[in-house]
Symmetry: C2
Subunit: 423 residues, 2 copies
């Protein structure tokens, strides 16, 4: 019994978490309930008793199956369903008519063959990647409608009438769904995509903050920051003890948080792709045009992922066991900090630009500064800064520098893509 109580409370807790994470989920649930109830009541007050059973069924089914989280997904499914029903129905009626000119035996064989062939062909077409992305549901419904019309039409001569009634109920169900989806607290896939891009850029910026914060800590707690508790030098650090561990913990937590953020950025491809697919179905809304260049969002997204991979690698080096002594690091300290803070500011400016959807060039001077710093670092490395040191100790610092330089060039690419998006 206690176990059951545990399960129920766990369930309730997760439900609360899900609802708080995104309150639109609760709204969406009630919208679906409302749409189904409305359609049911519509048929309840309908007077024609005969047509009721099957027709109400189609309307309710349409609402249940078509109502998706975002407007774009709902519209896409609705349009798919309507067109597929129309085409499948027309073809079904045609096949039925054609077969009815022959004898009963041949009619049966002909219908069977046509269902077999059309179902097989359409199923195969569903493997085409481009069609699958946008019209998968429509192809499914096409098979369904064609089979239903030709099969049930076989014993019923009112095929045309039936097809007409079915189409009209599906249209009613579909329009109620679309109406509620658009006019009651709409959830736009395009807006979600826009926000997710903003969040991604911000998460990169945040991790830059962590990075530059690490560099700042480096100034205040020179021995502690760049080093792990495991490090052989930790025995010499009793004096720094408390601050060391506090900072260590802070750093680890922050690093962990930002690492998790990259992880979500790294795996964002799938959800971005589907959001773009949905957004393409959406009409003009708010600040978005009908033909917003959604594919450009994908481009910016993939560049951001590339940048995130590099920051991930950078994180790996910061956590590595082998650390460069402070006297070596201090020489590249200032330029690195400069580079990361300038990049950070540039990305923030970009995020602001995306938010207001203006093509602001305010990021450019910061990028220029970052590029200059990168060049300075490169020439600094050429002058052979550290003549008499263990090579293994230099490696992490040098790698961090080269990663930073690469991240700068990645940021430049992101900036170009964002500018293209805004124009």
């Amino acid at each position: 019994f206690e176990k059951m109580v545990n399960v129920v409370t766990g369930f309730a807790k997760e439900a609360k978490k899900l609802g708080e994470e995104d309150p639109r989920r609760v709204v969406h649930s009630f919208k679906v309930g409302l749409a189904i109830t409305l359609v049911s009541l519509f048929y309840y007050f309908d007077f024609s008793y005969e047509g009721f059973g099957v027709n109400a069924m189609w309307a309710v089914m349409t609402v249940v199956v078509v109502f998706e989280f975002s407007v774009g997904a709902t519209l896409g499914k609705g349009v798919n369903r309507a067109i597929a029903t129309l085409l499948g129905g027309a073809l079904g009626v045609g096949a039925h008519r054609l077969a009815s000119f022959t004898g009963e035996k041949i009619e049966c064989i002909m219908l069977g063959m046509s269902v077999l062939l059309i179902a097989a062909a359409t199923t195969f077409i569903r493997f085409f990647p481009k069609l699958k992305a946008r019209y998968d549901y429509g192809l499914l419904i096409f098979i369904l409608t064609f089979s239903l019309i030709s099969v049930s039409g076989y014993r019923d001569d009112e095929v045309l009438d039936m097809a007409h009634r079915r189409l009209s109920t599906i249209l009613i169900g579909g329009s109620v769904t679309v109406f509620i989806s658009i006019f009651i607290c709409p959830i736009w896939a395009g807006e979600d995509l826009h926000k997710s891009l903003l969040l991604t850029l911000k998460s990169l910026r945040l991790s830059w903050k962590v990075k530059s914060c690490n560099n700042e800590i480096l100034i205040y707690y020179p021995l502690s920051c760049y080093m792990n508790a495991k490090s052989s030098m930790s025995t010499n650090l009793t004096g720094f003890g408390r601050e060391y561990f506090r900072v260590e913990n802070d750093k680890n937590q922050e690093n962990k948080a930002s690492l998790d953020e990259y992880k979500s950025v790294l795996n964002s491809k799938g959800s971005e792709d589907s959001l773009v697919n949905f957004a393409k179905w959406e009409p003009r809304h708010g600040k978005f045009r009908y033909r917003q260049p959604w594919d450009q969002y994908l481009k910016v997204g993939s560049l951001t992922r590339e940048c995130a991979y590099k920051i991930d690698a950078l994180n790996g080096y910061l956590k590595s066991d082998v650390q460069t002594p402070i006297e070596i690091r201090s020489k590249i300290q200032e330029t690195c900090t400069k580079m990361s803070s300038e990049c950070s500011v540039a990305l923030r400016e970009l995020a602001v630009g995306i938010k207001t959807m203006t093509c602001s060039l305010s990021a450019d001077p910061h990028l220029l500064n970052a590029k200059t710093a990168a060049k300075k670092l490169k020439s600094l490395l050429k002058t052979n800064l550290w003549p008499e040191t263990d090579l293994l100790e230099i490696v992490p610092a040098v790698t961090v520098v080269s990663l930073l330089i690469e991240i700068v060039s990645c940021t430049v690419k992101i900036t170009d893509a964002v500018h293209e998006l805004a124009s």
Copy 2:
């Protein structure tokens, strides 16, 4: 007109390509066609005329919607649909009975409210990630059946009879689907998952090959391999000219091919997740148990992806503009080649072990060799190999070495995970 011909031929070409890529797609299409035709004919020869229209519809609909590419997906959807129909139907009949004790007005309101609440609650439950992964379709069908039964039951007293008939037709449609899916050229998700893991390991091995091949080329064409056509030294290379460019081209092509392979590995997470989800539904078949440790496959997959990220980074350095002079590289040459070829052999042994599903330890000595080589490299770096050189020129070589060392430790992790999988 010519444009249409172009479209049609392009379509035919892509269809041919899709079919040749995976002939099971064609087989699957005909299986679906066969199932739909069979169910249609079943109802054609059925004598009870009355029940025909609606019932045949449910059977056909079940076949169309439930029949998926792999056995696991089909079974999952079928089980979901059957259980959800049963539960939704029972609850719908219950709600209908309960409401029928009251007056007609209250009955209408009660039914409306129950549909609203249950639809909203179930829609919300669909947001739970764990439930969404396995039972999303079932929850959808639950809403559908409940609404249909309670709404259409409203004017019809034969609710129980209808529910019974609907369930039986769905069961017939479902079993025909499952039967054809399992007994005619079955497509097992588990086997696909297994193969994709093998392919992934092989692609890593292949890229190792490319790497070690690069190293071998390094021996034969010392100046040419590690260097780009842009490099400032290319003017001194007229003697090597022809071989240089040939090798360059080969290398680039190979690099490109292997890079594309990582790309597919990097983005494999989504398809792996869904394959695991499907495989969990599958019964014992071939060499697979019913409760194969599918989650372990996910673990191996994510480790492989991690390794692929690193190989990707390595590729980036090999293509980088700044290259280390040959006299520096020659010192680490041998150990690097050793390390990569040993890792390559170890991964091949692992792939063989997975293929035969035995826990072979034949990979271990090779791994040991690779680890020894890695240690040797580390100590080599400590001895300050290159006293008087430009630091910027050393950086790429050192980074390549440290990446190779990391890849070795990643391979060790993969080996552990595969051993766990096999045991």
